[in-house]
């Protein structure tokens, strides 16, 4: 069975500090991977997607970047956090096509 793991579970960071969030998928070869951001009480906004190692496409610009260094790993990062980066970050995978997305448990980020 496939599992998706996100780390860390939660972070409190200072404005201007760097950030790195991780996501690992086990039990699935060559998954499509996605990063979403959700403001408190808001909807999910897609940030990035990746269909293969080393290839990442940006969907919206939020002063964030993403990388896929391994087939099963997806990283979200920034060098300088903004207050607006606070929220809930979710990683998801799918088999591609019109298949469903499976989400991780998320990382809650508070920027102060």
């Amino acid at each position: 069975a496939q599992t998706i793991h996100q780390w860390p579970v939660a972070e409190i960071k200072a404005v201007g500090s760097p950030l790195s969030l991780g996501c690992t998928i086990k039990g699935k070869s060559s998954p499509n991977l996605y990063w979403y951001w959700q403001a408190t009480g808001g909807t999910l906004q897609q940030l990035f997607y990746s269909i293969t190692v080393g290839q990442v496409e940006s969907v919206v610009q939020l002063n964030l970047s993403a990388s896929r260094p391994k087939d099963d790993q997806f990283i979200l990062s920034t060098e300088k956090l903004l207050l607006s980066h606070s929220g809930f970050y979710l990683c998801a995978w799918s088999q591609g096509g019109d298949s469903d997305y499976t989400f991780g448990s998320g990382t809650r980020l508070l920027v102060i």
Binding site: Y34, Y36, G42, I51, D98, D100, Y101, G106
Partner: protein, 110 residues
């Protein structure tokens, strides 16, 4: 760009009642996902309906899809307290972009 949009933002019902949530979208899609999100957790798929299905059932859930009117609905029969959650529709625009609607907060009271 394509998006999903629920017509109702919050619903409060009593246990045992039926409820329907509607979703309209702007551009062509052949697949609509419905997810529920419990507090503090990631969304989980509850129904995925394709254009050739028009209606799909899963237990007490029923989803419909009308591609001519670009709308979808999710109905819950005999709602229970554990159905309390936020429900999102997400039309699949293809090209690895799944856009979520604003969501409907459903509160089911005993």
């Amino acid at each position: 760009s394509q998006w999903g949009e629920e017509n109702l933002q919050a619903l409060s019902i009593q246990e045992g009642e039926d409820v329907t949530m509607n979703c309209s979208y702007k551009t062509y899609t052949t697949v609509v996902h419905w997810y529920r999100q419990d507090s503090g957790r990631g969304p989980a798929l509850i129904i995925l309906i394709r254009s050739n299905e028009r209606e799909k059932r899963s237990g007490r859930l029923r989803a419909t899809l009308d591609t001519s009117s670009q709308s979808s609905s999710l109905s819950i029969t005999a709602a229970q307290c554990e159905d309390t959650a936020v429900y999102f529709c997400a039309p699949d625009s293809g090209y690895n972009k799944l856009t979520f609607g604003k969501g409907t907060v459903l509160l089911v009271s005993p």
